[in-house]
Symmetry: C2
Subunit: 277 residues, 2 copies
């Protein structure tokens, strides 16, 4: 469940089920995703109570009271699933938490992910989360803030958007439609963007991510209850639609290499040199 919409939906669902419940037990099957020995994490978590559950960018923040926060990053896709009872849930997982009312949740990583426990008053010393830029849908993240963030920056706009230290929550799925929505080619140098393009990009970030959250996040990911998201294939504009017609102009969507990632673009609506073409 990689990007901001999936994490936002998940945090809301988890909060509804888990908030206020004491932790009865913790099972660690993959110690290397932790930031401490398994016993230490189990001991610290046991008996404490689940508090607020929020998301920032692609990270989950699970308050564990008193005084701790569990930080979860699902890496390149993972299932984070609700368990209705101790006997419920998948057999294979890397991390499981059981609560004193019998409910709980499991985490199964596809590839790498993190489950880090830190003291809440030491959150700022957790580098992976403390260096995150503002969450892309944070109310404080205004158009003005976005303009400031781009000031004096070099490099390609797509790389900027994917860098979680600039802006947290956008990954290489939603970024395709975000750029398409603003008519911006992923390899456009930041310096070449007009004020109007920057404004359009900001609007597109909000529009795409909010639409996805509204529909329950991406169809190819599971929510807390194991159900696919309601933001379905036909709601994507260009992402993963190689060879299909652009919804605006009908041009065939192409897949291109952009650095180490791939990009789906409409070559007509997202020209690399807007003034010359």
């Amino acid at each position: 469940m990689p990007e901001l919409p999936e994490l936002a939906v998940l945090a809301r669902q988890m909060a509804r089920e888990l908030r206020g419940k004491p932790i009865a037990g913790v099972d660690v099957r993959q110690p290397k995703c932790l930031n401490m020995p398994p016993e230490q994490m189990i001991n610290t978590l046991s008996g404490k109570r689940v508090g607020e559950i929020t998301s920032k960018g692609k990270w989950l923040f699970v308050s564990v009271e008193p005084g701790h926060t569990l930080l979860i990053n699902l890496g390149m896709g993972a299932d984070l699933l609700y368990c209705a009872s101790p006997s419920d849930g998948p057999d294979v997982y890397q991390f499981r938490v059981d609560l004193d009312d019998g409910t709980g949740f499991t985490i199964r990583f596809w590839w790498f992910g993190y489950v880090h426990l830190v003291r809440t008053d030491e959150l700022r010393s957790h580098a992976m989360t403390s260096t995150l830029g503002p969450s892309a849908l944070d109310p404080d993240f205004t158009l003005e803030a976005f303009r400031k963030l781009l000031e004096g920056r070099r490099g390609m706009i797509k790389a900027f958007l994917l860098n979680q230290r600039n802006l947290a929550g956008i990954g290489n799925a939603y970024v395709h439609d975000i750029l398409f929505g603003a008519g911006i080619h992923p390899q456009r140098p930041i310096q070449s963007l007009s004020a109007a393009e920057i404004d359009a990009l900001y609007a597109s970030v909000r529009r795409v991510l909010e639409a996805a959250i509204h529909s329950g996040a991406a169809y190819y990911e599971k929510d807390f209850y194991g159900r696919p998201g309601g933001y379905t294939e036909d709601q994507w504009a260009v992402g993963y639609r190689e060879g299909e017609p652009c919804p605006k102009c009908g041009t065939s969507i192409v897949k291109i290499k952009t650095g180490s990632t791939s990009s789906f673009i409409c070559p007509t609506c997202q020209p690399l040199n807007p003034h010359t073409s």
Copy 2:
């Protein structure tokens, strides 16, 4: 006098004239090229005696006894000139040293350069010189050492050769002929170089730099006595010979952009893809 041959010639000439002489006075006209306040450098140098004068890469090492070393980098070209008497020498300079027998020298930078004074026992803490790779003509810098240096390195061979932390002394003048002499395109990835090419490159480094020193260094630079070097235009193979015929095959030499520097190459003798062309 930017590169190794110029510095080697200069060091030898300076040593011949200055070695053993006490310093009578120092005049600083451009404090920002120093690593300390002018008064401090003047006070430290005055009364001391010039010792050994050597070069490493593009740096001059002037021993100032007891206990100090004057480190000089001439930047993008500069005149470092002998003065036969206190009234001799150019009117315009940034730094002047007068010795007790009336001789001396001046430094006039074209652009930026450095005159740094350090205690000899603290030379290792002078980052700009302590991080230099081996001087390209150092006897210890063997073919074996060159092979080791290239092991596992990525990037383009020209950038590697110009990086003073790998190998000290090669700049963007001699590098053209060095690469041509080995038949290697400046943008060849290091990893793509065959063992034979690496050996040829090592030989070319020595051959080109030693030939330049033998002739008294580049004609477009002045030596300690203000005379141009004897390594003249017709001794360059491809460097600065855009449009002229390659001395080996007659193909027209071309000037290409290689990152932030320019390169002169023979497109026939220095193919970018040796196996495919």
